[in-house]
């Protein structure tokens, strides 16, 4: 064990090993172990019970609902997030800082409060409650409410990822494109968007993970109608509260599986486009 660092900027070897071990230990205890526990607990009563839990009609309908909500909320947030960050990073206008603050709002407000806002707006006693009932439109305790709450909660992910990136890249490439005769739209399509695609992908993954996993806000607007308005996280809670631990963990492993699939997808994309990433220089 040498006390002399190999490089002037390096730490002694023992310190490096100590820090790496500490980090791994921490990650193992806080991330790997709970994740493993979910799968182990789910399989405690055997594979048959596990299969039965995740193929139960209520579980399948919760899975379908979760995927539906994410499939609507994520694309919408991509479009809105891109538009917001484009406007903020590439243009100057009054009240820009107000817009930036509004984008952060969902992060600072408790999810339960976010859910309540929608109940107060669209619920029977809410502002638009009477009007909605007249036209026989149900928002709260139905899919539209779930989608609205999820969009609100997951809105900052794409924009927060893109604004600093776009601001760092500046406006010169766009100006160059304009001076070369490109229209605003083709400048966005050929210059701005490709420059932020990796940041965008990352934002989308975070957005998607949260959209599928959101509990608080969704719990308030859902009404917990089995087979109709239960998403996976809500279904897991119900199973758990009914002391059906094995089933709860089995469904939880399904949700964890979805998250893992997203991660693998991201790694695959990075691997596939490694050349382009290298060509970009950073």
């Amino acid at each position: 064990m040498s006390m002399v660092p190999a490089r002037p900027t390096g730490e002694p070897r023992w310190l490096r090993w100590l820090l790496i071990t500490l980090a791994l230990l921490f990650l193992g205890l806080n991330l790997a172990l709970p994740l493993a526990a979910v799968f182990v607990e789910g399989l405690r009563k055997g594979v048959a019970a596990y299969a039965a839990a995740i193929t139960a009609p209520d579980a399948l309908s919760a899975l379908k609902l979760t995927l539906t909500v994410a499939a609507i909320a994520v694309p919408l947030n991509i479009v809105i997030g891109l538009a917001a960050s484009w406007a903020i990073a590439k243009f100057d206008f009054r009240f820009k800082s107000v817009l930036v603050t509004l984008i952060d709002l969902p992060f600072s407000v408790s999810p339960v409060v976010s859910g309540l806002i929608y109940v107060l707006l669209f619920g029977l006693q809410g502002c638009f409650g009477a009007a909605l009932r007249e036209h026989d439109i149900q928002v709260i305790f139905a899919v539209p409410g779930l989608v609205l709450a999820t969009i609100f909660i997951t809105f900052p992910f794409v924009a927060r990822e893109l604004i600093p990136l776009m601001e760092e890249q500046g406006r010169e490439e766009e100006e160059a494109a304009l001076s070369l005769g490109a229209s605003g739209l083709s400048t966005f399509w050929h210059v701005t968007l490709p420059n932020v695609r990796w940041g965008l992908l990352y934002g989308v993954l975070l957005c998607n993970a949260r959209a599928m996993g959101e509990f608080g806000a969704v719990s308030v607007v859902s009404g917990h109608i089995r087979g109709r308005t239960n998403t996976l996280p809500l279904h897991i809670e119900i199973l758990y509260n009914e002391y059906n631990f094995a089933a709860a963990f089995a469904v939880a492993s399904l949700l964890a599986g979805l998250a893992l699939v997203t991660l693998v997808l991201k790694s695959l994309l990075e691997w596939r486009f490694a050349g382009q990433l290298a060509g970009r220089g950073h």
């Binding site: 160059a176 304009l178 070369l180 420059n195 220089g281």
Partner: protein, 345 residues
């Protein structure tokens, strides 16, 4: 194509970047906008390009008013100091961009675009680098790609914003000679911004010296160097020593030495006089001239630079071919100015 700016005013909040600028570049002319940072030269260039719009005044290119036209309609090539290459595109795609994004009706065929790109890569002397990404090029190579990209759309006017600002001294010099050669070959009217007086005087047909959003002088490099119109221009061109003087009967009196004024005539009274380092002769104490004490001798190649201190504590730089034998720091000398440019104080 000729380009004209008439009474252009531009403000950013409370700051006046351009305060009534009028200038004209003739067809095929190479014009330099020279000034310190904050003088408004880059703002003027961006207004010519349509990347900014003036608060008042007008811009015309080829005799047609362009004041309200956005950048994409002006057919102006713009080269940025930091290159602004599209980082996710290859060099060839960068150069071909302006042609590729044209509407279908006016867009050349793919083969024609490729041919044009190859031709431009040849012109900027990078024929083998079409497949590289900008991050894989040196600064000088990137700037040449940026120039090729601007030329690809056959602009009517070429604008360059401190094109060599981010490059090292050797590359700068090579690239600026090369740029002048490209300009002479294409015959394109060009305007470039620089804060480096040597670059401006070396490269341009005419130099526009700017300060605080105003034009101080527009002239050929010889005229700007020989007859600076204002004290600012004379000072900014660099190197000149500033000494106190008096204008008397059309002549300039510097501590007893009387010289005719190389600058525009000024009324009698106190004057700001500028004397360049090579415009002094050395004399022994007692002669008429500026009495100084020698502080340091620096050999700079063929010349020697003497750093001297006058009685009032001001430092005067003198450049001579060879210092007299036995001259050492601490020696008392008299500097006799040979020429002077003086302006009202």
């Amino acid at each position: 194509m000729s380009v004209t700016a008439t009474a252009v005013i531009k403000r950013f909040g409370g700051f006046t970047a351009l305060d009534g600028i009028s200038l004209a570049a003739r067809e095929g002319e190479f014009l330099a906008l020279l000034g310190p940072s904050g003088s408004g030269k880059t703002t003027l260039l961006r207004i010519l390009a349509g990347l900014e719009f003036p608060d008042a005044g007008s811009i015309s290119i080829g005799g047609i008013d362009m004041s309200d036209r956005p950048a994409r309609d002006r057919q102006v090539g713009f080269v940025f100091q930091q290159y602004a290459l599209f980082r996710h595109m290859t060099v060839a795609d960068n150069i071909g961009f302006g042609l590729t994004v044209r509407p279908r009706a006016t867009r050349p065929a793919r083969a024609e675009i490729d041919r044009r790109v190859a031709e431009l890569l040849e012109l900027v002397q990078l024929p083998a680098l079409g497949g590289r990404y900008p991050a894989q090029l040196s600064g000088g190579q990137r700037q040449r790609v940026a120039l090729a990209r601007a030329l690809a759309v056959e602009p009517r006017l070429l604008l360059l914003d401190e094109p060599f600002g981010a490059l090292d001294a050797k590359v700068r010099k090579d690239l600026r000679r090369w740029l002048r050669a490209v300009h002479d070959r294409t015959g394109l009217t060009s305007v470039f911004v620089t804060h480096d007086q040597e670059e401006a005087l070396d490269l341009a047909d005419r130099v526009v010296v700017m300060d605080h959003g105003r034009i101080e002088q527009i002239d050929t490099p010889e005229q700007v160097w020989e007859r600076p119109a204002t004290a600012f221009v004379c000072d900014f061109l660099g190197g000149a020593n500033r000494v106190a003087a008096q204008a008397v009967g059309g002549q300039i009196d510097i501590t007893g030495v009387r010289l005719s004024n190389r600058a525009p005539a000024m009324p009698d009274g106190p004057a700001k006089a500028f004397i360049r380092p090579h415009e002094f002769m050395l004399a022994a104490p007692g002669a008429a001239g500026i009495a100084v004490v020698l502080r340091r001798i620096l050999r700079t190649g063929a010349q020697a630079a003497l750093e001297t201190e006058a009685g009032d504590g001001s430092v005067i730089e003198v450049s001579i071919a060879a210092p007299p034998d036995g001259l050492a720091p601490g020696a008392a000398l008299v500097l006799v100015p040979q020429t002077v440019r003086a302006y009202p104080a």
